[in-house]
C-alpha cells in the first residue's frame, strides 16, 4: 500500500524520464504478448492484494438517502458492515429500479436478478458478517469484462454465444472484495461508438434526458454510466481506449477515472488495442471511484503491462482532506490550457437571421443548433471558471500552460488512427471468416488493415515524442492539467479523471451535466482523486440525481430508436 514516502502523492516519487523509457518497453511487451480472446486461460488473480480500508468512513447517522439504491458505494458498504442495511435490501432496491425504469434507459443487456439476490443472501450469512470492503455492493459490469459462466457479448455478433470460463482480473478482484454482479451493461459493439445493438440501433439513453436521443449518453461505457447515474447500480466498470470512461462520466454527472496504462490488469477484457486499452470505474463521487480503483489496481502476472510499476498507494486516503482542513490534500499546481476559459464566438449573423426566419417553419434549423451550441458553450465556460475559482480557494495554484510542440499534429486524427491496426490484427481471424460479424462497426477494422507497417511504426515513435513533450513542457510547470478531450492522454497512457462541475439550465429534455476533465502524471491517480474529492467537498454537483422517466413527457408509443450509420463509426470510434 505504501509508496514508501508517506504523505506524498505518487507523482512526487516517480522518475518521469524512466516512465518514458518504460513506455518504450511496453510497446514491445504488448506486441510480443498474446492478448486473451475466447480461448485464453486466466492468470492467477493477485489474491490478498485487496487493500484494507484505512480511511475514515461516514457514520450511519450522517448518511442521507431516500432509498438504498441512492447510497454511494462507501455509504452502502459501511451500513452493511454495521448491519444497518442488508445486502439483500440494497440489491432488491436496485432490481426494483431496473424493473421499473430500464425499459426506458436500456442500460443493461443482461440482469442477473436471481443470482444477485442469492449472492446478497450469502453475504448476510457469511461467518463473522460482511467484512470485505465491498461486501454486498451491487455493481454493473461492462459487457466486455469476462464473467465466469455469464454471457460476455461486447454487444457484438462475434461473441453473441460466448460464455467465459473465468473472470477478468479486475472483476475477480471486485468480486473477491464482496461485490455482487448485478448485470452486464450495454456498450458500443466491441467497445466502439455509443451503445448500440450490433447492427447499429442505439440502446442506452442519457439518464438525464431519457427521451432525447440527441443527448449523448457518452461513449462505449454508457450502459454502465446510465445504470449508475439512474441509481440502478451502486457503481460500475468501464473501459477506455478513446474516452469511453471519461466521456460518459462527464455526460451523466459521474466521477470516472481512467488510470495510467498498466495500473489495472487487462486480463480478461475483450481487447481493442494493445497500447491504449484501460480499465476503470464510473462512480457517483471521487471516494467511490477511489475505493473501486483501490481494489481493481495492482500487479497481475497475467498482464505484463501491470508489472514492475510503483506500489499502489492508498487512493481512499487520498480523498480525505488534510487533518483539520477542508483544503486540497496536497498543494497542487493546475495547468490551464490555451482557450480553456475563452468565451465562445457567437454564430454568424446570417445564421441568426436565418434562425428567425426558420422559426416560421417546422423543421429544426441548423442555425438553431448552432445557437444552442453557443449557449451551451457559454454555460460550460462559466462552470469552468467557477470550478477553477473554487479549487484556487482551496489552495490550488493556476498556471497558464502553452501547447507543447507539435501538439495539434500529434494529437490529431491521423495519429489517433495509429491504434486501428492493433484491433485489426487482434480480430484478423474474424475478419477473414466473415466481415458481417462486425455489424455496424466494421469500418475501423477494415481501415486498420490499410495502414502500412512503416506508418504504424512511425506512429509509435510519434507517441513517444508526444509523451516527452507532455512530460517536459507541461508537467515541468504543473501537477495536473485541464483537458478538453481524452484522446491525447489516452494515446500516451496517462491518467485522466472526469467529474461534474455544473449543469445547463433545465429544458424539456432535462438538464445536462457539465463535466471537467483533468490529466495527471504517470500513476498520479491519487493526486487526481484528491483534486476531485476536494472539489466535491466544496460543491454538491455530484449529489444531484436525474429525474425519473415519469417526470418527462413520453414520446408516442412505438417510437423507433435512432441508429448510427456505418459512415459515422469512424468519427465515433474509440
Amino acid at each position: 500500500m505504501s509508496n514508501g514516502l508517506p504523505g506524498l502523492p505518487t507523482d512526487a516519487t516517480v522518475d518521469r524520464r524512466a516512465f518514458l523509457e518504460r513506455m518504450t518497453a511496453l510497446t514491445a511487451t504488448a506486441a510480443l504478448t498474446p492478448v486473451a480472446l475466447v480461448s485464453s486461460r486466466p492468470g492467477p488473480a493477485a489474491a490478498g492484494d485487496t487493500p484494507a480500508l484505512r480511511s475514515e468512513l461516514p457514520k450511519a447517522g450522517m448518511i442521507q438517502a431516500t432509498e438504498p439504491a441512492d447510497l454511494t458505494v462507501v455509504e452502502a458498504a459501511q451500513l452493511i458492515r454495521e448491519r444497518d442495511l442488508s445486502a439483500e435490501e440494497l440489491v432488491q432496491s436496485c432490481l426494483d429500479r431496473i424493473d421499473r425504469w430500464d425499459g426506458d434507459y436500456r442500460a443493461f443487456n443482461l440482469v442477473l436478478d436471481e443470482e444477485a439476490l442469492a449472492s446478497a443472501r450469502r453475504t448476510a450469512a457469511a461467518p463473522g458478517g460482511a467484512r470485505t470492503p465491498l461486501a454486498g455492493v451491487p455493481l454493473a459490469i461492462k459487457d466486455n469484462f469476462y464473467t465466469a459462466g455469464v454471457p460476455t457479448t461486447a454487444n457484438s455478433y462475434l461473441f453473441e454465444d460466448f460464455v467465459p470460463a473465468f473472470d477478468a482480473t479486475a472483476w475477480a478482484r471486485l468480486r473477491d472484495a464482496g461485490a455482487i454482479l448485478l448485470g452486464k451493461t450495454q456498450m458500443g459493439p466491441l467497445a466502439t461508438t455509443a451503445a448500440t445493438t450490433p447492427d447499429g440501433e442505439r440502446t442506452t439513453v442519457n439518464a438525464w434526458s431519457p427521451f432525447d436521443d440527441d443527448v449523448s449518453p457518452g461513449g462505449s461505457s454508457s450502459g454502465t454510466a446510465t445504470s449508475v447515474a439512474a441509481r440502478m447500480a451502486a457503481c460500475g466498470t468501464g473501459t477506455q481506449t478513446g474516452g469511453s470512461i471519461t466521456n460518459p462520466s462527464n455526460a451523466q454527472g459521474l466521477t470516472g477515472i481512467k488510470p495510467t496504462m498498466g495500473r489495472v490488469s487487462l486480463q480478461g477484457i475483450l481487447p481493442l488495442t494493445y497500447t491504449r486499452d484501460h480499465v476503470g470505474p464510473l462512480a457517483r463521487d471521487a471516494r467511490d471511484a477511489a475505493l473501486m480503483l483501490q481494489i481493481m489496481a495492482g500487479p497481475d502476472a497475467a498482464d505484463p503491462r501491470s508489472l514492475g510499476l510503483p506500489p499502489v498507494p492508498d487512493y481512499v486516503a487520498a480523498t480525505e482532506p488534510p487533518r483539520g482542513s477542508r483544503e486540497l490534500r496536497w498543494p497542487t499546481r493546475i495547468g490551464v490550457w490555451p482557450g480553456y476559459l475563452d468565451d465562445p464566438t457567437p454564430p454568424p449573423a446570417r445564421d441568426r437571421e436565418q434562425q428567425q426566419g426558420d422559426r416560421v417553419g417546422s423543421t429544426p434549423p441548423r442555425a438553431e443548433r448552432g445557437q444552442e451550441a453557443f449557449a451551451r458553450r457559454q454555460v460550460e465556460v462559466e462552470a469552468r471558471r467557477e470550478m477553477l475559482t473554487t479549487l484556487e480557494a482551496m489552495g490550488a495554484e493556476l498556471i497558464e500552460i502553452d501547447e507543447p510542440s507539435h501538439w495539434s499534429t500529434l494529437t490529431g486524427w491521423p495519429f489517433n488512427n495509429v491504434r486501428l491496426p492493433e484491433r485489426s490484427e487482434i480480430f484478423l481471424e474474424h475478419l477473414r471468416r466473415d466481415v458481417r460479424g462486425f455489424g455496424v462497426s466494421l469500418s475501423p477494422w477494415i481501415n486498420g488493415l490499410l495502414l502500412p507497417g512503416a506508418e504504424y511504426v512511425r506512429g509509435q515513435r510519434a507517441r513517444l515524442v508526444l509523451l516527452k513533450s507532455i512530460l517536459d513542457d507541461v508537467f515541468s510547470r504543473c501537477d495536473v492539467v485541464v483537458q478538453t478531450a481524452p484522446f491525447p492522454f489516452d494515446m500516451v497512457g496517462l491518467p485522466l479523471i472526469a467529474f461534474p462541475i455544473g449543469f445547463e439550465a433545465a429544458s424539456t429534455a432535462g438538464p445536462r451535466p457539465i463535466g471537467a476533465l483533468f490529466g495527471g502524471l504517470p500513476y498520479a491517480e491519487d493526486r487526481l482523486l484528491a483534486l476531485a474529492a476536494g472539489y466535491q467537498r466544496a460543491t454538491d454537483w455530484h449529489r444531484r440525481q436525474p429525474a425519473e422517466p415519469d417526470s418527462f413527457e413520453r414520446p408516442p408509443s412505438g417510437r423507433r430508436r435512432s441508429r448510427i450509420d456505418a459512415m459515422d463509426v469512424m468519427e465515433l470510434a474509440e
Binding site: 447499429g200 490499410l450 511504426v457 469512424m570
Partner: protein, 88 residues
C-alpha cells in the same frame, strides 16, 4: 526533402478502390459478402469503401509527413527489457 501528400497526384476513387480490394484480397478478407448499396444494412460495400478511401487520403500521408527531430526516439517496437524505474 519532404514530399507532402498534398503535393502528390491524388489517386482517383477507382484507383483507391482497386488498391483497397487488392490489399484485402491478399489478406483473405472478403467484402463481397456485404450488400453493394443498402442504407438499411449495418454495413455495405459502398460505405465501407468510402470510409476506407477517406482513411487512405487522410492518415498514412499525414503520418509520413511528420518530421522527427534527428535526436528523437528510436523505433520502439521491440525494446529488449523492462526495468525498475522508480527512485525506490
Amino acid at each position: 526533402m519532404t514530399h507532402s501528400v498534398q503535393e502528390a497526384e491524388t489517386p482517383t476513387d477507382e484507383e483507391l478502390d482497386a488498391h483497397i480490394l487488392a490489399r484485402l484480397d491478399l489478406l483473405g478478407v472478403d467484402l463481397s459478402v456485404l450488400p453493394e448499396d443498402d442504407a438499411d444494412a449495418p454495413a455495405d460495400r459502398r460505405r465501407i469503401l468510402r470510409s476506407a478511401r477517406q482513411f487512405l487520403r487522410s492518415t498514412p500521408g499525414a503520418i509520413a509527413d511528420f518530421e522527427f527531430d534527428p535526436a528523437g526516439p528510436p523505433p520502439s517496437m521491440y525494446p529488449s527489457e523492462q526495468f525498475a524505474w522508480t527512485r525506490e
